[in-house]
């Protein structure tokens, strides 16, 4: 594989982890989160700081997971206090708070970010394999959760918290669980990203990225693990494959998001299901 191909596959892997984890929060549990980039960033920064300090990959990964989920649980608690509409705005705000805070911290590199992050020692190909393994694990976890009673309860909470309570489901606990797991994985993706680029700045983890991630989830099919995987891969490859898309990236992402919601709200997964149904009938 060429260096370019390794790089692309690595990014796809990271985006898959991000999209699948966002799908757990917003798709399975119905909590619309437009702040996913912040958890990604928290993980990246945690890993970067640990790598610069100790060059220990396992420690950096743990730090990334913890940073992501700590921030996520804080936001999760916020989600308990506020109504759905407020939640969306709060998660948008998390992006700004994260960047606004990090840019001012000298120990986090301030506006310059953190550069020269030590390499993992696995080489580019080794990093890619590590990323793919984690991506596979994330997909497996997502599929498992979906089939388990947790996924079942998530769906109830996402649809109607009050009704969920009348069958003994503590909505608050489940929302926290969704945020905790989803954001831990986003943090993990952040750590892997720090290993990959060896240089991070706060501005990379902005609201636009959160929107892009949500676009991957919606276009792939909100609620569907495999749909979201395809969505992530597609939106990562599209700019690479089509020059036009690369120049007008946000135009295309925004446009696709709008079109999909307007015409096929269930995303690619819904389209695939329709096709399958028609094939079965004929």
């Amino acid at each position: 594989m060429s260096a370019y191909q390794i790089s692309i596959v690595s990014i796809i892997g990271i985006n898959v982890i991000l999209a699948v984890s966002l799908n757990m929060i917003s798709g399975f549990c119905g909590q619309i989160s437009l702040g996913h980039a912040a958890f990604f960033g928290a993980g990246a920064y945690a890993a970067a700081v640990v790598m610069v300090g100790t060059a220990s990959v396992p420690l950096a990964i743990v730090a990334a997971l913890v940073a992501g989920s700590l921030l996520g649980i804080v936001v999760g608690f916020a989600s308990l206090r506020v109504r759905t509409d407020f939640l969306a705005v709060t998660t948008i705000g998390v992006n700004f708070l994260f960047i606004g805070f990090v840019r001012k911290q000298a120990w986090l590199g301030g506006e310059m970010g953190i550069s020269g992050i030590p390499a993992t020692g696995l080489g580019a190909a080794g990093n890619m394999i590590m990323i793919l393994l984690f991506a596979a694990a994330t997909i497996a976890l997502s599929l498992y959760i979906s089939r388990s009673w947790m996924g079942f309860a998530f769906r109830a909470v996402g649809e109607d918290e009050g009704a969920a309570a009348t069958i003994g489901i503590n909505a608050a606990a489940y929302k926290l669980a969704a945020f905790g797991i989803g954001t831990a994985l986003a943090g993990l993706a952040g750590g892997l990203y720090a290993f990959f680029t060896q240089f991070i700045t706060a501005d990379a983890f902005d609201f636009i990225l959160s929107v892009t991630l949500m676009a991957m989830v919606v276009i792939g099919g909100i609620g569907s693990t495999w749909g979201v995987v395809v969505g992530a891969a597609a939106l990562t490859l599209l700019p690479e494959a089509i020059r036009f898309v690369n120049d007008y990236r946000l135009l295309v992402y925004g446009g696709l998001l709008v079109l999909v919601i307007r015409l096929v709200p269930g995303g690619l997964a819904a389209l695939a299901q329709n096709v399958l149904l028609r094939v079965r009938r004929s």
Partner: protein, 255 residues
């Protein structure tokens, strides 16, 4: 004496209006109680307090002797309470069967961690199919809950309530919006529920049916209990009459 459900001096006001004013009563295991009263008497507020949807300004709610005043609905459900809503709330995007299965799995969903560790649904599916047959919804399992007509949705609510193995069921206007045939069916279902030994407390406007099936009527007016006893005696009571006719002349002191 503890009893299945007990209210002690429960009171609640909204923005200066006293909705419930010091209500106390005890419901024994196996009772079949109808909570009645004219519009605005405080019945809905009271049932919501019993369900854990509202926290009273003062007073205690106890289930099987245990004080649950501070606990939310989900916790009370796990202690043996079940409830159905006046305006039905099925999980519309799920199938009829899944609605009941999720309820039947209440032990697995008691905490997210527990839920994460359990996948198998076969037992719950069997139980749920049986419950659906009992309430007369056999054959609708695969339909989306949102596509059912109202009468069937109300029966689904009862099925869901049964699935959590309750000791006490609260029914908020179970006959509202139903035509005569559907209402009769629903009444039958509720009677069967009671015959299994489950304590039933229901709020209902349809006095005719309520008279037929309830063993005990508690009458509310202006947030206070103005009558409590056997249906025929209650309906003959002039105080209750006045409350319904709305003369407003009968007061608590006169009873």
């Amino acid at each position: 004496m503890s009893g299945a459900l007990r209210l002690d001096d429960v009171a609640m006001s909204f923005g200066g209006v006293q909705a419930v004013a010091g209500v106390s009563f005890a419901v024994d295991t196996g009772d079949f109680v109808g909570l009645i009263g004219p519009n605005g008497a405080g019945k809905t507020t009271l049932i919501r307090i019993m369900a854990g949807l509202l926290r009273p300004d003062r007073g205690r709610v106890a289930l099987a002797g245990r004080d649950v005043t501070g606990e939310g609905t989900a916790a009370r459900v796990r202690r043996g309470l079940a409830l159905t809503h006046q305006i039905v709330r099925p999980f519309r995007e799920m199938t009829v069967l899944d609605n009941v299965v999720l309820a039947a799995g209440y032990r697995h969903t008691s905490s997210p961690l527990r839920a994460l560790l359990h996948v198998d649904r076969r037992d719950e599916s069997e139980r749920s199919a049986a419950i659906l047959a009992q309430v007369g919804l056999a054959g609708t399992e695969r339909k989306l809950a949102g596509s059912l007509p109202l009468g069937q949705m109300k029966r689904l609510e009862v099925a869901r309530a049964l699935a959590v193995d309750p000791k006490v069921i609260l029914l908020d206007e179970p006959l509202a919006g139903l035509n005569h045939t559907e209402a009769t069916k629903q009444v039958e279902t509720i009677s069967q529920v009671h015959m299994r030994g489950i304590t039933v407390v229901l709020v209902e406007h349809n006095l005719e049916e309520v008279m037929r099936i309830c063993r005990r009527l508690i009458v509310l007016n202006n947030g206070a209990v103005i009558g409590d006893g056997e249906p025929r005696a209650i309906m003959a009571n002039p105080v209750v009459h006045d409350a319904y006719v709305g003369s407003g002349r009968a007061t608590h002191a006169d009873a």
